[in-house]
């Protein structure tokens, strides 16, 4: 394939930890194939080479937490034919969306020696709140094989296989014994989007929901079950307010226990 016909890929970073971008670099076996299939036009984490837009595909990591970023994402959208968000920050606001439940000034006063220099928005919002997103890839961080799948799908003009059912499906396909049933360990797998391959139950612990809510997640019933196994409202709030605290489903469930 001549270089000039390769699709141009850009990777963008907003408020995030870089973990999702690193997943791309972590695709050791596939990295050469990725580099062969696309022109990496903008990827500051990996290369200093920059190619001007427009881009065929933009991968966006991170959430919007400053007014500068709120403007920047508009520009990215304008320069990108397809825009895919990668990870919990870009998709749900990330762990930094915890500020949405508090007063951000309290945090800046607490954390920074000179808080007067900090300019930040009161809320951390997902990319989809600001611009049209063509596809969302879940996870904190994303699963590298899912990223390769999404890129392959994009390059071959097909639908990515990233099912929206729960972690339990992957857990069962692997043959793991349910940690909820066999050990009484609270597990968020039944309300959490698949994609990780049920890593946590495989290592004998409960899922803590890093892929965010699955399709038709019944958090009310799961919370009741957690209550029965001795989980307190305070712990429930913490469970729902982590990396995907900003997702509608988890936010509502967490809030419901605050009022009790």
């Amino acid at each position: 394939m001549p270089t000039n016909t390769k699709p141009k890929l850009a990777v963008w970073k907003f408020a995030s930890c870089d973990g999702c971008q690193l997943s791309l670099l972590d695709c050791e076996d596939e990295l050469l194939a990725v580099a062969g299939a696309v022109e990496i036009a903008n990827f500051p984490e990996a290369t200093r080479a920059l190619t001007k837009g427009p881009y065929d595909l933009s991968l966006v990591e991170g959430s919007i937490t400053t007014s500068h970023d709120a403007e920047r994402i508009q520009k990215v959208r304008k320069m990108s034919k397809y825009l895919i968000t990668i990870g919990a920050c870009a998709t749900a606001g990330g762990i930094q969306a915890l500020r949405n439940f508090a007063n951000v000034t309290d945090y800046t006063n607490y954390v920074y020696a000179s808080p007067q220099y900090i300019e930040t928005l009161h809320k951390s919002t997902p990319i989809g709140y600001h611009v049209h997103v063509d596809f969302e890839l879940r996870g904190c961080p994303i699963n590298k094989m899912q990223l390769v799948e999404v890129l392959s799908a994009f390059l071959n003009g097909r639908k990515p296989n990233t099912p929206a059912y729960g972690v339990c499906v992957e857990c069962k396909l692997k043959g793991t014994s349910c940690v909820m049933v066999a050990q009484g360990t609270p597990c968020m797998g039944p309300v959490t989007h698949a994609g990780c391959g049920a890593i946590c139950p495989t290592f004998d612990r409960g899922c803590y929901g890093c892929f965010g809510p699955k399709e038709t997640a019944n958090t009310i019933s799961l919370s009741e079950q957690f209550h029965k196994s001795g989980v307190t409202d305070e712990q429930l709030i913490r469970a729902y307010r982590s990396f995907n605290a900003g997702s509608d489903t988890f936010r509502k469930e967490g809030d419901a226990h605050e009022r009790q």
Binding site: V34, R158, Y165, A182, C187, T216, Q225
Partner: protein, 388 residues
């Protein structure tokens, strides 16, 4: 392979040490032994090398949404009931690559068929599980379209059944007429008896191959007393079923209660997590996933177990037809206990209790059926759908 009922041979007994001989005899015949072993806090089914891999001295305590390992006072090999796995994982693998292809000079070339089917000896198959295998035989081996993967594995499989002398908190095989004694569909059937100092197996063969294997083990003719002991144990077990399901007119009951308040009630609890269908030994639904690699030169088709609890399961052009959890739970239960009869002429439930134990919120199919029956107000005579 399930053969037409063979004259069940005279019962014999062998000492517990001979169980290892049985394993060795099967291994010499190139069988990969698979059966119960302790894994992540439960008695799972996995590859076995020797009797040391069996859950010796362990049992399980089960209730709705709850499973715990517990130690026994004796050294029983098969002193537990059924666990999170079923034999379908060996005969109908959860994830399977169907074919791979690549592009060569613009032509799609399909790679040669995968390796030969494994030759399994299933160790410790319970009566309800024999019935579940017979049900899956109907699904995969009868009619116009058969499943070659299932067929190859099934035909090769050697089945060592174990009669239940311990019953689980969620078992209801007596209601479903599927146990606790294995009556057919096995090569060998064992009853484990621990009587004071004596620890032995009462064995019978159910196929010619089973008889051949049994011939290689040191054994004696079972005495009348030994046979009676084994029988008593099973009878005692049958009286201790953890659950019951009244199957009288269940087909008509479910069909005439397509709309009833209980579905909303259960949907409030159901997580649509799919666990009940994944652990069920008869559920057979699968989906097919096509992928390409980054270069677009290689493609693969994989199939994996699917469940009527996912939205994609009922996706047809434009959307899912079972959007509500209510419609999904209703599909599962109605399929198991009613629609299955239209489809395969048998119930889809063998009463193993797995769906009850392994439901994270403890939804119990027997309790749901009872509630639907209690709320059933329809005129049974006029509404019966079966006589269409």
């Amino acid at each position: 392979m399930l053969e037409p009922v063979v004259e069940i041979e005279q019962q014999v007994t062998f000492k517990q040490e001979q169980l290892q001989t049985l394993f060795t005899v099967l291994q010499k015949r190139d069988y990969q032994l698979v059966g119960p072993t302790i894994r992540d806090g439960a008695i799972a089914y996995d590859e076995l090398n020797s009797t040391a891999d069996l859950p010796v001295g362990w049992t399980d305590e089960q209730d709705a949404g709850r499973y715990r390992l517990a130690s026994r006072k004796d050294a029983a090999y098969f002193g537990y009931v059924v666990g999170p796995h079923s034999w379908k994982k060996f005969l109908y693998p959860p994830v399977l690559s169907l074919w791979k292809a690549n592009l060569q000079k613009g032509e799609v070339v399909v790679a040669p068929e995968a390796a030969e089917a494994p030759k399994y000896a299933l160790i410790g198959v319970r009566s309800c599980e024999l019935h579940a295998i017979a049900i899956q035989d109907k699904i995969f081996l009868q009619g116009e379209y058969t499943d070659p993967v299932y067929k190859a594995r099934r035909e090769k499989a050697f089945i060592v059944a174990v009669n239940c002398v311990t019953t689980g908190g969620t078992c209801f095989c007596v209601s479903m007429k599927t146990g606790p004694k294995a009556t057919c569909g096995f090569d060998l059937a064992l009853t484990e008896v621990i009587d004071g100092q004596r620890h032995y197996f009462v064995a019978e063969s159910g196929s010619v191959l089973g008889a051949e294997v049994l011939a290689e083990i040191t054994k004696q003719q079972a005495t009348a007393e030994e046979q009676q002991d084994a029988k008593d144990l099973m009878e005692k077990a049958a009286k201790k079923m953890g659950r019951q399901l009244d199957t009288t007119g269940i087909y008509e009951l479910l069909y005439r209660n397509v709309e009833c308040a209980r579905w909303e009630n259960v949907a409030g609890r159901c997580l649509t997590c799919t666990n009940c269908t994944m652990v069920c030994p008869t559920c057979f639904c699968m989906t097919v996933v096509d992928t390409t690699d980054l270069t677009g030169q290689n493609a693969e088709r994989t199939r994996h177990w699917d469940s009527c609890f996912t939205l994609d399961f009922s996706y047809i052009h434009g959307g899912s037809i079972r959007n509500s959890p209510k419609s999904r739970y209703r599909q599962w239960m109605t399929h198991k206990l009613a629609a299955w009869q239209d489809q395969f002429g048998t119930s889809g439930c063998v009463g193993c209790g797995r769906c009850i134990t392994w439901c994270p919120v403890g939804i119990d199919i027997t309790e749901e059926a009872r509630a639907i029956r209690a709320g059933d107000k329809s005129d049974k005579a006029t509404m019966a759908i079966k006589e269409h």
